[in-house]
Each structure stands twice: as structure tokens, then as C-alpha cells.
Subunit: 275 residues, 2 copies
């Protein structure tokens, strides 16, 4: 999916919500656990219930890998279901990969070629040649970790160099030499509201993937105040607050209601920018 299609989808759906499919086998409703593939059945119902309120889905690989082969099957089935039934939704594989060149190339082939996923989260620690292999696929995106939503983001990402540039700023600045705003996005946590101004000084036009709204406590209006651009420029993710809105038989209806509530707030925020 290219940048213009993404922007068009945001305008059409009045939403920049991404639903995080962090599907934990221990948290899904009891009545699904006897099915052959409970994880996929849960995802399918969540997707059907929330699709009209969001523009993207982000399965986090950890939740699938922890089940081994069975988990990978559920992951692959979920991707296929999305590509077939909801081809306009942007898919982010949240994998936080990044390795030496030949290894990153293997990951890229897996996610972009074989599974045809739109984008992948990538960790910047190993530098340019660990990221570049992901940029060899036209129409596919790298979502590079810049400033994450967790407490540990302060350990290294805020370290300043002698000129006062912080590590996350250096990541934002240097990585722009590797690809433009049509191929690269950045992860910036919603819990870092006041930091969006600093981020936007370096990447005024890039899309930002924003985790941390909901269970992690970030504020949507603060993120938009400092982070939104004239083309929106934000994909805001919510996982637990939506998919576990209820852990009972009504989980899909509850997820729809939770997603709709965020979408309504987004519609207002978009309207304020005439979007």
C-alpha cells in the first residue's frame, strides 16, 4: 500500500486507528478455547467487529511465536484472512527485527515476499546495513523504532551526544538517508506526548506509528496536538483496551464498541484539521 492510499483510507474512514492483535491464548474467552485454532477464531471475530473503525492491524509476533508451530499457523491464517477479506487495511507485523545484512534479508523475504505484509517494525541498534534489506521491496514499509512507549526508553534512547542530539533524534535524522517518507515510518510512543514536537522538527512529514494509547496510559489528544500533520501522519495503535474490552462471550461486540469510541474521538480530531 502506498502513502496516498493510506491517507485516502484515513480520510474515508475518519480514523487513524490501528488495532493491535496481541492475542494471548490465556486471555481469550473460554468458549473459543475448544476450537481447533482458538487464536485465529478470536482474531477473525475481532477483525470482523472492528474493521470499519480502523485502518490498520498490527499483530505482535511474540504472541504467536510463543505457541511455536501452532502460533505461526494462526499468524499466517490471520494475515491471509486480512489480505482476502479486508485488502484496504494496512498490515504491520510487529516483530522489531534487525540483524546483519544477510539475516535481515531473510526476514524481509519472509514478511514482504512470502506473506506480502505491508510493513514491519525494525530495531535500529545495528545501523544502516541491518535496515536496508527491508527497503528493497517496492510498496513495502519499514517502521523503525525511534522513541518507544516503555519506561526503558529512557535508558539509551535519550542519551545525548556532545552536540545535544539524543539517540532517538540521531536515528530519525540518519535513517532519512536510507529512504523517504513514502517507505519509512517511525515508532514514537504515546506516553512521550511532549516529545512529539522534537520528533516533528526532524521528520515533519513521516507517518508515525504510535503505541501506548489505552492500557499504557498515553493521551490521544496530546499526541494529535503535537504530532498530527496536514495529512494526519499518525497511525495510533491500541491493543489490550480493544481486544480485551470484554473477556466473555460478548468480546467482539465489546471490542467494536471500544474501537468505535476511539474512532469517534479521532473523527473529531481529524475534523479540527479539516481532514
Amino acid at each position: 500500500m502506498n502513502r496516498q492510499q493510506l491517507i485516502d483510507n484515513i480520510r474515508r474512514r475518519h480514523s487513524f486507528l490501528c488495532v493491535g492483535l496481541d492475542t494471548d491464548i490465556r486471555k481469550i474467552p473460554q468458549h473459543l478455547t475448544t476450537l481447533e485454532d482458538p487464536i485465529f477464531e478470536f482474531n477473525k471475530e475481532i477483525i470482523d467487529a472492528t474493521a470499519k473503525y480502523c485502518i490498520a492491524y498490527k499483530p505482535n509476533l511474540a504472541f504467536y511465536e510463543c505457541l511455536g508451530t501452532r502460533g505461526w499457523q494462526a499468524f499466517e491464517k490471520t494475515i491471509k484472512y486480512l489480505k482476502t477479506s479486508y485488502p484496504e487495511h494496512f498490515i504491520i507485523a510487529d516483530a522489531k527485527r534487525g540483524d546483519i545484512g544477510n539475516t535481515s534479508a531473510m526476514y524481509a523475504r519472509s514478511f514482504f515476499e512470502e506473506m506480502d505484509i505491508d510493513s514491519l517494525t525494525v530495531a535500529p541498534y545495528m545501523g544502516e546495513d541491518s535496515v536496508k534489506p527491508f527497503l528493497d521491496y517496492p510498496g513495502k514499509w519499514v517502521v523503525l523504532l525511534a522513541l518507544t512507549s516503555n519506561k526503558g526508553s529512557h535508558d539509551f534512547q535519550l542519551t545525548q551526544d556532545p552536540e545535544g542530539e539524543r539517540l532517538f533524534e540521531k536515528v530519525l535524522r540518519k535513517s532519512q538517508d536510507w529512504a523517504g517518507a513514502d517507505r519509512m515510518m517511525y515508532v514514537v510512543g504515546a506516553t512521550q506526548g511532549q516529545m512529539f514536537e522534537a520528533v516533528r522538527r526532524i521528520v515533519p512529514n513521516h507517518f508515525l506509528l504510535v503505541p501506548g494509547v489505552g492500557a499504557q496510559g498515553g493521551s490521544l489528544s496530546e499526541v494529535c496536538k503535537y504530532g498530527m500533520t496536514d495529512e494526519c501522519g499518525l497511525i495510533v495503535n491500541s491493543s489490550r483496551a480493544i481486544i480485551y474490552a470484554s473477556q466473555d462471550k460478548d468480546f467482539a461486540t465489546a471490542a467494536a464498541a471500544a474501537a468505535e469510541s476511539v474512532q469517534k474521538e479521532m473523527q473529531t480530531l481529524l475534523a479540527e484539521r479539516s481532514l
Copy 2:
């Protein structure tokens, strides 16, 4: 496996070699490709041929994930084979994971609890709470990326703060508050020979996992000169130079010869330190 067992194995086998199981379906010998699980069959023969020359195996997850479900099956079978047939060999899952706490916890459960793997490579970018969940498993190890073997390691890992401390040095220093030398190792690339002195100033006793010898061009004797401790303190990995020593029917014999040649060099280097 605990630290003393690892040191004992190194002394007994006169080797600190780790064989990297970066098994690429496109590079394994033709005659294996018709078998039901060519990746596993290749690994099994490589392991049987090299086990007496090495003390560890390091499958890189990317090479398995890129085959989806089929790849995961091969990975799980390889781990089971190692645990059953070669229980004294240390297993490193080279996955370079690292995510917010609840997600890292899922990865930890998968690798340490369900697959009972000894250690996992972890990326430090997201800080303490992304690494800590991996430290909750007694007898299991975190192998934290510090200074990697690739060219891109210069992009961020060498960035200095105003006091002159480089990012990889900060990672080494801060992470010692999270666990000691009996639970944590560090990745330091062999291509950074002259940097081992700087590394050893901060972590004099920790084991270092050293990739980059062989195909990537690092020098074993230089690594040992600056990096070896009185307990060895090194696990040196070689992947391509061993497992693809021949891509023909004699691949296992050729791998054994390549591994033996490294082991002989290691034996001499260990003897120089009376190890």
C-alpha cells in the same frame, strides 16, 4: 547450563567454538532437498559431524522463520535433537528480540520455558524493562547486543555522550545492574578486534559471544589477545565457513574438517593461557 558447567565444557573439549546453524534452504546440498524436512536433516548431519569440536550451537531464527510453519517445525526439531543427543552443548537462539515488558515476557516463555533453550540474543535499544523479563528464568542467559560485527554498528553504537562514553559502553555498564556475569553475556563482533580492550575494561569477567570470525573476516587470534580471560570468557561463532564448507554430498565431512581446524587453533590459544 550454569557458568561453571560452560567453563568445564570449554576445558574438556579444548574449544570455545559455537557453530551457527544459519541454514538456508537455497544453500543446502541438492540430495537433501527431496527429503521431508531438508533443513532438519541438514542440521542433524552438521551437528553429528561437528559436536566434538564445539561447545555451543546458535540457530539464527531468521533462517527458520522465513519458511513459516515449516521452518518453525525444523527449528523445534533441531532444538529437541540437540537437547536429547547433545545435552552438554550450550544452545543460543539468535533472535535479537526486545520489546515492551509484557511482550518480552511472551518471548521469554517461548524460548526458555517451552523450548528450554539456554540463552537468547536480545537487543538493548528499548532498555531495562525490555530485557528484564528474560532474566526471570534461573539457569537461562541473556546475550545482549553490545558491539555488533556489521558495518552499521558504527551508525549508533559508537555515538559518544558528553563524557566520552560510547553507546555500546553505556549498554555494557548499565546492564550490569540488571544481572551478573552468571546470567548475562554480550555480543561483541570479531571484526572489532581493537575494541575488545575497551569492552574488557567494563566487563572483565563476562562471557562474550563473538560473531564475525570466518565469512565476515574477523581474526580469532586478535579476539583472543584482547578478549580472553583466565576462564576463557569467549564463545566464538562461525556459521557459513563451517556449515557451507562444501555444498556437495560431502558437506558434513567438510564441516567437520572446518570445525576441527578452528578447534585446533583454539586449543593452542587456550594452552597459551594454561586453559
